[in-house]
């Protein structure tokens, strides 16, 4: 552990996490654990400004970002000790919190770990049992922990469809233990869709109709309804041979075009499914994030394919890290684009925002 510290991936973020005496910010950390990469974002918010939500958003500062790779090969089959590997590398490489500091953390699990399903509200218990059986026979070998929310607005009939997100309970528990062992006060573990939709307007200034995460290791689409997050679905990952070829050249739009067509079809199908029987039509753009979103012109192609306006996920708050580099004369245009590109950190930022929200909700009570 000390070796990892001396290698100091964590020390990059620690100066950002440390409080300055003039600005007593409390830190809210979003830890987005992916398949082969973990993104960590620290937001700062003052306790005194937590009362009103407008002030809260105003006073939030993006203090730091950090990422490290996880020892899992997304091309290979899922390893048997996946959970252990993730926990060990978290223990090794997650930035240490400074003693005495309060770091409130929200965590999200890798997308393949979460099982999404839509069931009628009356059948939640049945599907909970099914999830127990499924996770017990999977590599997690544990009970399932189920979260659920209505697909549309408040359900009125007992057979109103509900969205279920299920994870392995022991994996979530062990992960939470590991993270809290490092000095974080872990507040919540959220499904990606919920946190993305909740945080979208505050963090990007855009009120989206849906959020799409496109990662090399899998994707996710989350629709928005009147109350927040609606339908969540996993999207198919990029075929392995495309990824294997792209390892040397980098992903090109041309190479992923066939897969992108599939994704576009999935998105339109999902939207059609959600809007079925609904009086109102969806409006607002599609927010695109994830590491594939950085591929040039992907948003334009996706917009053409889906016939929905596409907006890249971009942080719209006041303060962001590495400001100096962005406005430096010597930074090239491409570098500037890269520094402004927040799509990889979208989930982590949303999680940090969710941590702020949940904390203020608890303080308000």
């Amino acid at each position: 552990m000390t070796a990892a510290e001396s290698k100091s991936p964590g020390s990059m973020i620690l100066p950002w996490l440390r409080p300055s005496r003039s600005q007593p910010l409390s830190r809210y950390v979003g830890i987005d654990i992916g398949v082969d990469r973990a993104n960590i974002v620290a937001l700062g918010a003052r306790h005194c400004d937590m009362r009103r939500s407008s002030q809260r958003t105003q006073s939030m500062r993006w203090l730091g970002r950090h990422h490290f790779s996880l020892p899992v090969d997304p091309l290979a089959d899922p390893p048997k000790d996946w959970v252990d590997r993730v926990i060990t590398s978290l223990l090794d490489r997650l930035p240490r919190s400074v003693d005495g500091d309060q770091n409130i953390a929200a965590v999200s699990l890798p997308i393949p770990w979460v099982h999404y399903q839509v069931v009628p509200a009356s059948e939640i218990e049945v599907s909970r049992q099914q999830c127990h059986a499924m996770f017990a026979s999977s590599l997690f070998r544990s009970q399932a922990h189920v979260a659920y929310w209505p697909l549309h607005t408040e359900p009125t009939r007992p057979d109103e469809p509900m969205v279920i997100a299920a994870i392995a309970e022991s994996a979530a528990y062990e992960l939470a233990e590991a993270v809290s062992e490092l000095g974080y006060q872990i507040e919540t573990i959220l499904p990606h869709g919920v946190t993305l939709i909740d945080a979208a307007e505050s963090m990007t200034g855009i009120d989206p109709r849906c959020c799409v995460v496109l990662n090399r290791s899998g994707g996710l689409i989350a629709m928005k309804n009147q109350r927040g997050c609606g339908l969540c679905r996993s999207l198919p990952a990029i075929p392995k041979q495309i990824l294997a070829e792209a390892d040397t050249l980098g992903l090109t739009l041309h190479a992923i075009r066939p897969w992108l067509t599939d994704i576009a079809a999935e998105i339109t199908a999902t939207q059609r499914f959600v809007l079925r029987g609904q009086a109102t039509d969806a409006n607002g753009p599609l927010l695109l994030c994830g590491d594939i979103a950085a591929v040039a012109d992907l948003d334009a192609v996706l917009a053409t394919l889906t016939d929905i306006p596409v907006a890249p996920w971009r942080y719209a708050g006041k303060a962001r890290p590495s400001r100096r580099q962005i406005f430096d004369q010597e930074t090239s245009q491409a570098n500037r684009e890269r520094l402004f590109n927040d799509s990889e950190y979208a989930v982590a930022l949303s999680l940090a925002y969710s941590a702020v929200e949940s904390m203020s909700r608890r303080n308000g009570k």
């Binding site: 965590v107 699990l109 979460v114 509200a121 009356s122 939640i124 218990e125 922990h145 979260a147 659920y148 929310w149 209505p150 359900p155 007992p158 109103e160 509900m162 997100a165 994870i167 309970e169 979530a172 528990y173 939470a176 233990e177 809290s180 872990i186 919540t188 573990i189 959220l190 499904p191 919920v194 997050c229």
Partner: protein, 221 residues
Amino acid sequence: MTAVASSVQQDRSAVDQQRTKNPRLQSTELLPTRFFARRHAIRVLATWGIVVVSLSALLCGVLIPIWLRGQRIRAGNSNLIAQSQPLAELRQKSQVMQQENQRRSKWASWVESAKPDDSLLQTLAVIAAATQASEKEIEIDSMQIQLPLEYPAPHKEPPQWASPKLLITAKVSNELNARSWLDRLNASDRIDDATSRLGARSWSGGTVQVSAKPVATRWLP
């Protein structure tokens, strides 16, 4: 421990109740309830631990001075005992000696009382010795010897009947003889204060009366 367990149980049962009552209640929380329950339990345990530790610290703070004081008193007492031991020994020894002394003195008194008292004889012997030098000139008519007697404690001075008394009436041919006889009587250590008084007749063989105090070895009972 039971308090912790019951509170956790309560939390969990409350959550379960909520879920069963309203299955449509949404929950987007993926963090297991177990984690919250454990955190809560740890917090409760820590609180109770602090309470218990502080209480026991208080107890120790009270008990230790008491114990120390007891120890000090015990040490002082043992010190006293150690120091007074020679004294006690001495006292015991002196008691033994006293008893021995008493016993011995009793023996001595027994021996003493067993010895016959010869004070009277001694006095007579002294008078006889004094008279022997001028036996022809002195003719003792009468002799009265009273040895000192025991008298009751209240009297400071020995009363008349108890004081020693020696009265001799003798016929002496001349004064010179009488005086030398008196001197010889006084010289002996058995008779004190021998004085003479002349009788009615003149010194051609007159009567002389000698009064003195005989010395006895002890009081006669």
